[in-house]
Subunit: 339 residues, 3 copies
Amino acid sequence: MNFVRNAWYVAALPEELHDGVLGRTILGDPIVLFRTPEGKASALFGLCPHRFAALAMGTIKDGNLQCPYHGLAFDGTGHCVLNPHGNGRRPAALDVRAYPIVERDDLIWIWPGDAALANPDDIPDFSCRTDPERRTVGGYGHVACDYRLLVDNLMDLGHAQYVHRANAASDAFDQLEREVIVRENEIEALMTIPGGTPSVLMAKFLRNTNQPVDLWNDIRWNKVSAMLNFIAVAPHGTPKEESINSRGTHILTPETETSCHYFFGSSRNFGIDDPAMDQVLRDWQRQALVNEDKGIVEGIEAHREVIRRYGLKSAMLACDEAAVRVSREIDRLTQLESA
Amino acid sequence: MNFVRNAWYVAALPEELHDGVLGRTILGDPIVLFRTPEGKASALFGLCPHRFAALAMGTIKDGNLQCPYHGLAFDGTGHCVLNPHGNGRRPAALDVRAYPIVERDDLIWIWPGDAALANPDDIPDFSCRTDPERRTVGGYGHVACDYRLLVDNLMDLGHAQYVHRANAASDAFDQLEREVIVRENEIEALMTIPGGTPSVLMAKFLRNTNQPVDLWNDIRWNKVSAMLNFIAVAPHGTPKEESINSRGTHILTPETETSCHYFFGSSRNFGIDDPAMDQVLRDWQRQALVNEDKGIVEGIEAHREVIRRYGLKSAMLACDEAAVRVSREIDRLTQLESA
Amino acid sequence: MNFVRNAWYVAALPEELHDGVLGRTILGDPIVLFRTPEGKASALFGLCPHRFAALAMGTIKDGNLQCPYHGLAFDGTGHCVLNPHGNGRRPAALDVRAYPIVERDDLIWIWPGDAALANPDDIPDFSCRTDPERRTVGGYGHVACDYRLLVDNLMDLGHAQYVHRANAASDAFDQLEREVIVRENEIEALMTIPGGTPSVLMAKFLRNTNQPVDLWNDIRWNKVSAMLNFIAVAPHGTPKEESINSRGTHILTPETETSCHYFFGSSRNFGIDDPAMDQVLRDWQRQALVNEDKGIVEGIEAHREVIRRYGLKSAMLACDEAAVRVSREIDRLTQLESA
């Protein structure tokens, strides 16, 4: 499988572990996640070394993860701590692989590659998610496409004009100004749409919807597929810093070569105590990400075979600069590991 | 994929385009069909040249087909007429392939092969469908098998005695007379069953069901998979020309190597203003084609792997002469193109 | 396909043939089963030699099996006895392969290999199923895994302690004594758990549940995948022969390389006229075999690709002796035929 393994990915949202044991395939590996009695999230290879039963079907027993099939139990480091059979010997072959895990910014990060290379300092910054000046709502979605199709999608947020037309199109779209900034390990695409009428979605955030607004819609990419969006709106001519805005989590984790996990969120700096605003954003996330974007990219994935058969190459547009730069960087990282 | 591409196939029924945009896979190609403002049916390759979004998910904008993803728009010839991004340039790489289309006999014909070879004169005659002396009812069905299994099915209508036993079996089946006529680009199988009791279906067409009848059940094949049936019944001894009869549309279009589209119809010369007779024929089509034949041929398709594994060869019967001739002709046409 | 073909397998339960014609894939072959007018079960290759229609969609006509497509009919030996077409000739190519069949112990056994090698004396003994001193209840299940995963499951019944924990776990599990007996063509694993509290299931069989009990749980394997279980319970210290017990049918028949048929039953020597006891056992079979075991082994099957990709080898435990011996014997038999 053709993945970048030496990188941090999000394995789960902390809330997904509340009920105990979570199974999830990541970069083609079956992974089982659970919390130790000390509350530390752990991630183990998800098949029991004995008969390959799915440990995700197991239960927590005395703080360890117990295999559902013959009762072997493993601690948070993957060490087999119980063999209920025969003389109870536990040779090293009964231990399972543990993956480096870091819980930060209300996200559980995993390193699927060589553990010796895992450095938590390399985890990109999503601290907006726990910023007390902001309110975050979000969730998890499953998308049946190569994660790279969703990276392409996110690195040109101009698609909102069409895919999310009903809620997010702007009558000033032809005034759009773009900028792409390339930093070390980071690529950012900035979009400004000055002087438009508020869109249906933006109108829900504004008190006064009768004046023209400036709209900013930026997205930052960090290796391999963690994106942070900055969407802001303000009366025309207001400085960007004085806008009301949301920092959006858009983090993808490959499941297989043709499917991925999508961890999304919106961390807004306005109406942070207003449950109605929570609902507006949850509705938008479900509509835009789960319905609209998912339909488009799964439609592309469904044609992978015909694209390959005819050797089709994308005809790039001016709006693709950031997506192309990111795509080349992912190519480079992938080839680096397969070399 | 192993198809005859240089041939006319039916892409759709005109009624399927009434609501706008129709996506359909034909000979493995994703195709999008729509009508231009002048009412002309158009067929384009169904993936946007930019990011391969499915154009079938698009909408009509100013008479052109607009991609749902980033708003590129295409006219009926596949020419890109709108690029909303950057300086709006539209290099030739943004145009999509258009397929030759002819609307005739209430059918939309497509030529999936080399457009330079497309000659509308080669479209087989289905003018019975719009003959004012006849009444046509019909529809569309999807069948999960190689279209050639349905060609085999249709080229020996003797299968009706067994597959459609409840409605169409004849007590005079052992009096069956067969003839096969081979013309240029055309093969016809004639069946006569003289002096039988009317079947359940035929009894619904006849005023007097107490006399023995002669039954004709002929089928004409034209390349590659367009079949016209002639089913007629009359009191025993009546000339064929004086029968009440129906000309039946049975046109197949390969979707993939293991599935096909089935456009069917019945154009009758009796009871043409009688809605009850419409219903009798719609019921028969649903029962015979959609239920009974589909079950048989999908059952064969489901065993393709075991047939291949054991190298099974069909043991041919006397009734297979026409089917074998057609099958050899399709083989020849297929090999001609793959050579 | 990698099966042991020269062996007896169960094709069906007699009750499955009551309604006429049964289609079932066995070792990758489509098979059709029916009874001749004399009541003898017959098994034929399931595709008509003419056009490969599924004979399982056929009907019985004059005691023969008639193809649903063009009416060829076959007797119980596979001989074509009717060709309704042309001059009605029936060359040998119209005959279909018949498989050796033996109906015994309320099971229909089939020999998918070389008919010349089929010896009914090799069928393992399941006479407990029709023993008048016992009452048998059972059924059929379909499991989406390689049958060998279920053989592994059954050859170590210690898995009940975990997989069937709610009903069958014993508080004396750590007193477990094991013995493995290897005979010619037969391997048996014996388990004794002395002096435990009755499990939830066992308590339903006992009048006095307040005293400690001894539990026996043995399983006998015969080639290739026919297993007979002996589960017995008695007050602590009672001889095994005086126990109340059930002989359990656990017979697997490969369907494909990744799915199998499971014929199960329980033949008990207690409460044989008590319908409530029938229900207890049916509930247990559905819960333990259909729900719990099926979930575990299908979960393993679902990870076949990742197991192969990483070249994972099972880490064997003390409890696996019988399973490993059986597995090696099936390996040997498989290689014998593929050589």
